[in-house]
Assembly symmetry: C3
Homo-oligomer: 295 residues x 3
């Protein structure tokens, strides 16, 4: 996208740095030293250390709720210092900056629209995917846009922050890296479908204890009032409910980001079920919901 | 109040969203998408889920310490999706935006100045109160100022954030809702007085473990050095002390917001007493302190 | 330094206020009420209550990563209400504002460059040090620049915030206090050296559980691959490693702020060792590393 270099850009920050250190402030200082006119928005820094699945979900939920030109920086980077690539993604109206390790998985699925997962695909680990139409993806390789010396353990401060700041000043990503045709996606960031069963998993547990699956509303066909959620031995009927409809019971609903989640009225569903990121979260569709993948 | 629509407004945010989710950032994104020139100040997002008493106290303490025109958004909203109203309060020089569920209770008491509570009133739950002189209170009912679709579970992002942003742009609250003459106040947000006993309760415990009561300095008459605090079986003499005056003991003092609190030198008073929000916190005034309510 | 009073200054905030109260917001409100054009950056508010050692380390790490003119406010203030002084330090290109209780210790050591600690000095408590060349240090004593009434327990809101805001407006520190030639430094913020042993201690544990010592890279002479870290009964060989070099083992490395730290691949070293701030963290240099203090 073209940028008006005079505009003050929003830069969002999603990390696993925690809030008890200076790491977040140093990332911000690196940005402000290059462009003091950015608007810095903390998304969260409380991602569990190395939890790419949760971070990718959270970054995905930002889509559409920030001004055009917003730059989303995500640094959950267990591979810092290894050979993983660093990316800028120009998504048309917004940017992603971060390591190429799956953090853009949910942005990718939203951009792809037509999901191409087959039920026979394995869903463990990471895979390379072709960049969606409308995206320009760049692999960062121009050290002149970084802070020096580059710490081997803190690319947020020394690489991703400075690159985001330069984008906010109007530097085109093509000046900072090479165009690439592939990016890394976490395989289990999208469910599989077999007949009337959508096999998903838990990708996020929010601060209220709501359990979020990787099953987005596009996957839910047929009668929502009789569709069944299966987590472990628990079965919950209905996936389109409201918090206020039930007392002291589990509630299946489409959350404010468009994902199927399991809540519990006034309590933490995750505490009750001892749920963990990555566990199975399956949806049994009603009989007429047996068509193919969502389009 | 009249606003200079060119000024950049401060918007403060007080919620129970926690910091591990994207909810706070989405609220901010909704605001910045409407007015990128606001100054967003996090008050706290660590309110215990649904703890209206603590949130109302915290919002009350902001009074007088922010620039004219500041908009205070509070979202602790256990009734989201039910029939509770949504409010904008024009308090003359500052605004409140949030659900009509008692979050403005302490702002209300500060504005009322003359408290009209009788010792015979019950102090459980919530009640309607006439809006104080000088306030204009509006019930939000104009969906054209909201984000759509409005999530049934996230009015912070879809209603309160956008409304605050429009106020910051100079839209008058009367364009966004109907003037109303009543608002909801939490009944136990103010103490009762009977003879020389002020019967209050714990409304907040801060991060140092200091125990804050709903007894403001206006209620404390007579000799402060001999007034007695009663919490459970504990009695502490004196209510106008300093942290540095005592070693290894409880300390009664008027805190920096003007509320009577119980501290412990260098330790958490709340941990020592296992205190909980809502428990009794009584003040026994010295003999000459037996007059009527504060004026 | 001279300031362009039209520039919008960065003010960083480091406190032990925690995030569950309104204290941080009130500090910000006090600043914005004086200068709404400041850029407020939270460093951390999760310093353990009264932990001056960690706060001093964190403030020290900000050095060099923020724009010229940045004002670093630090409020970890167990002596609030006592006779401790309040300071503004003009460090040439940046400012420090806070109590004179050792919070500037690491800024001091970085400015001194030539360390003058002798192995015979005791390392307990605090001492007065002459202000480094190039610094102007002022003791605050002009109440007309403070908020009134000044709360005896909240100088962040009523003294340090307002003073920082006035600096950001271009008020010279000499208008707000008296030039002084000494400041308080925490004695164990710098290690001692005896022969080939550098005797340090733990000054900080970060959110990843990495254990940071007060031994900066200038103290490490000789062969880094054979230098030995001693913590309790643990010995780790090598002090210049990377996270990615080892699996399931301790790692000695120079961290992104230039301090020697002990990490553990993918785990919390501090949890494994049950480490505490203040414990010994010694470095045994290789034979040729037996010269004098760093210059």
């Amino acid at each position: 996208m073209k940028r008006d270099s005079l505009a003050s850009s929003v830069i969002t920050l999603t990390t696993d740095f925690g809030l008890s250190s200076a790491y977040v402030a140093l990332l911000k200082g690196a940005i402000l030293s290059i462009n003091p006119n950015t608007i810095l928005i903390d998304v969260t820094h409380e991602i569990a250390i190395g939890d790419i699945a949760s971070a990718a979900y959270i970054v995905g939920t930002l889509n559409g709720y920030f001004p055009d030109g917003t730059i989303h920086v995500a640094v959950v980077d267990p591979g810092v210092g290894s050979s993983r690539n660093s990316l800028v993604i120009d998504m048309g109206s917004q940017f992603f900056v971060g390591p190429d390790n799956g953090l853009a998985s949910h942005l990718y699925h939203a951009a792809e629209k037509v999901s191409i997962i087959q039920s026979s695909d394995d869903n463990i680990g990471f895979g390379s995917r072709r960049t969606p139409e409308g995206w320009q993806v760049y692999t960062l390789n121009k050290p002149e846009y970084w802070n020096h010396p580059v710490s081997p353990t803190f690319h947020g401060r020394d690489v991703f922050g400075p690159v985001a700041a330069h984008i906010s000043l109007g530097v085109h990503p093509s000046s900072m890296g090479n165009l690439t045709s592939e990016l890394v996606v976490q395989k289990n960031s999208v469910p599989r479908k077999d007949g009337n069963t959508v096999s998903g998993n838990i990708i996020y547990i929010d601060s209220f204890g709501n359990i979020v699956s990787n099953i987005t509303k596009e996957w839910i066909e047929g009668d929502r009032t009789t569709a069944k959620i299966h987590i472990g031995t628990l079965t919950v009927v209905g996936v389109d409910q409201y918090y206020s409809e039930k007392n002291d019971d589990f509630i299946g609903l489409i959350n404010s980001a468009g994902y199927l989640e399991l809540a519990y009225s006034g309590k933490s569903a995750a505490d009750i079920l001892h749920s963990q990121i990555g566990e199975s979260f399956n949806l049994e569709l009603s009989e007429r919901g047996t068509a193919g993948n969502p389009t």
